[in-house]
Amino acid sequence: MTMRPAFVASAWLLAACLAALSLGPSRIPLGDVAAALLHGIGLDFSVDDRTLAIVASLRLPRMLLAATVGGMLALAGATLQGLFRNPLADPGVLGITGGATLGAVAAIFFGASAMGGAVLPLAGFAGALAAAFAVDRLARVDGRIPVASLLLSGIALESLSRALTGVLIYASDDRQLRDITLWLLGSYAGASWDRLMLIAPFALLSACALPFFARGLDALMLGEREAGHLGIPVETLKRLAVIVAALGVGAVVSVAGPVGFVGLVVPHLVRLTHGPGHRRLIPLAAAYGAALSVAADTLARILVAPAELPVGLVTAAIGAPFFAFLIRREKRRLAA
């Protein structure tokens, strides 16, 4: 990757992060944000308690969560699209999001709110992994996993999870219904250092592993057989990439809910502007996914302050028109 795209992406991400720390119902000047951050890492900077509490205990973990979720979803989206050679693939298509949703909704239904912080994410995570393994089993033919069968299995599983989720929603009482609906819209409102620490290892592991698939994914652009001819162990690549993506997506969805559009749109934006090579696409998608997610969450917090919007609504509201604009601009190239 040449320096410039990486630099531009980092600049956007940094700007989004600073805005997220500074903006909100109570606006904190950037100087104070910096002071609070430096104070937080043990340097001798004076900052009043209220500012410190807002920046270090509320906004910073929330910003990091938003960045982790957005980056992870975009990363997984880029990987899965490359893996399936299909620009419409995203974690939802594989049943991973559906599995995580079912797990989380079941947890709420059976009273997770009363059981404390970790239960909900763990349930969502378990649902995502179960879905990934089920899809893997369902799709396998003679030890191989043909992409068509993988996609169809994913769609079948996604529908099944959605139906079961529907059953739970139908059987919920009013309070459960509200919790479930809020979770389904996607929100970073539950962010805390504890939750962040809960998902960070999985997301980090996944984020560190996925770029290693870039070479194989580049070869896969030519086709599966062709990638094999180039010495890529295609079946191993498919299984590993799906599991690693499920790990990361399951973790982030379980905490934040199914935040829409980031996983689908961000890789496309990067592809349209920087070409389809995965060595560049994967890190850039992660950076822009994180930036979009952080920016969307900031908007979600300030648009109707002191209340806040579910972030999923904002990502969809920003993402969809921008996407439409890009498709329009690139129409000729896409049609070719």
């Binding site: 490359g82 050679r85 299909n86 620009p87 070479r215 580049d218 070869a219 896969l220 652009m221 030519l222 086709g223 057989r225 062709e226 094999g228 001819h229 180039l230 010495g231 890529i232 162990p233 592809r271 070409g275 389809p276 090579g277 190239r333 896409l334 070719a336």
Partner: protein
């Protein structure tokens, strides 16, 4: 260089390839001929190491193909597929560059660029390289794919090149150019096996031809030995005649069966 012995490929109770033995030595350009469904592409895929056959085995340099490390094999042999759709919008040159993937960490940037440029040059694709692959015509895509295969084995000693209908979408001059290119790869110590449909081109350019019919090898030898009018009529359902070309070459012309 490559030796296939008694290859059997069975699918759904049918033998797609039925006890075929075939070997290629250094410097050889062999045409694999036969009507549709004769098992040519299947045999090629077995030789490429895509899957182990149900019977028989393939050796390269005396070692079993299935025991060759993937990466070593990828640096030694390249395959031109029959249909090549590429996912996502990508420049033609980037496709050719993907051919260098197996050499990553072993060759320098300059060597890679050299191999890519030479391959693009050899396939008369310089003008195509900067265009989007998806926007190219079928024949142009085929030349880019061939360039990708050449880039893969461009600086390999004794390369093996497997071509599945390399000329199917090409105009006439490029058909001959590609087959001349195959001859050149063979002449430099490589071995080339090409699935071909046009008996004229095959008889003109190949040193040896192998004819498959319903999975069996029914003729094998120099074009003049193998492609007798009787065999061509029986296997391909056309009449044929060897004709003299300017420059002392001979080739097989085919025409519909006399009623």
């Amino acid at each position: 260089m490559i030796r296939a012995t008694d290859i059997v490929v069975r699918r759904a109770g049918r033998n797609l390839v039925d006890g075929v033995s075939l070997s290629l030595g250094e410097g050889e350009f062999v045409g694999l001929l036969g009507p549709n469904g004769a098992g040519k592409s299947t045999l090629l895929r077995v030789l490429a190491g895509e899957f182990p056959p149900e019977g028989g085995g393939v050796e390269i340099d005396g070692s079993d193909l299935q025991s060759w490390p993937r990466a070593d094999l990828a640096r030694r042999r390249a395959v031109l597929p029959q249909h090549a759709a590429v996912a996502f919008d990508i420049d033609a040159r980037a496709i050719v560059e993907l051919g260098r993937l197996p050499h990553e960490g072993r060759s320098t940037r300059a060597q890679d660029a050299q191999a890519v440029n030479d391959a693009i040059d050899a396939c008369d694709a310089v003008a195509l390289a900067s265009r989007g692959y998806a926007a190219l015509s079928g024949g142009e895509q085929q030349r880019i794919q061939l360039a990708r295969a050449l880039a893969q084995i461009g600086d390999t000693q004794k390369p093996l090149l497997l071509l599945d209908e390399p000329t199917s979408s090409l105009d006439l001059s490029h058909q001959h150019a590609v087959l001349n290119l195959a001859k050149r790869v063979a002449a430099q110590g490589g071995a080339v096996l090409a699935v071909l449909h046009d008996l004229f081109s095959a008889s003109l350019h190949c040193r040896r031809v192998a004819v498959l019919e319903r999975g069996r090898l029914v003729a094998h030898g120099t074009p003049e030995e193998a492609l007798t009018p009787d065999l061509v009529r029986r296997v391909f359902g056309v009449d044929s005649r060897w004709i003299d070309l300017p420059g002392g070459q001979r080739a097989l012309a085919t025409y519909p069966l006399a009623a």
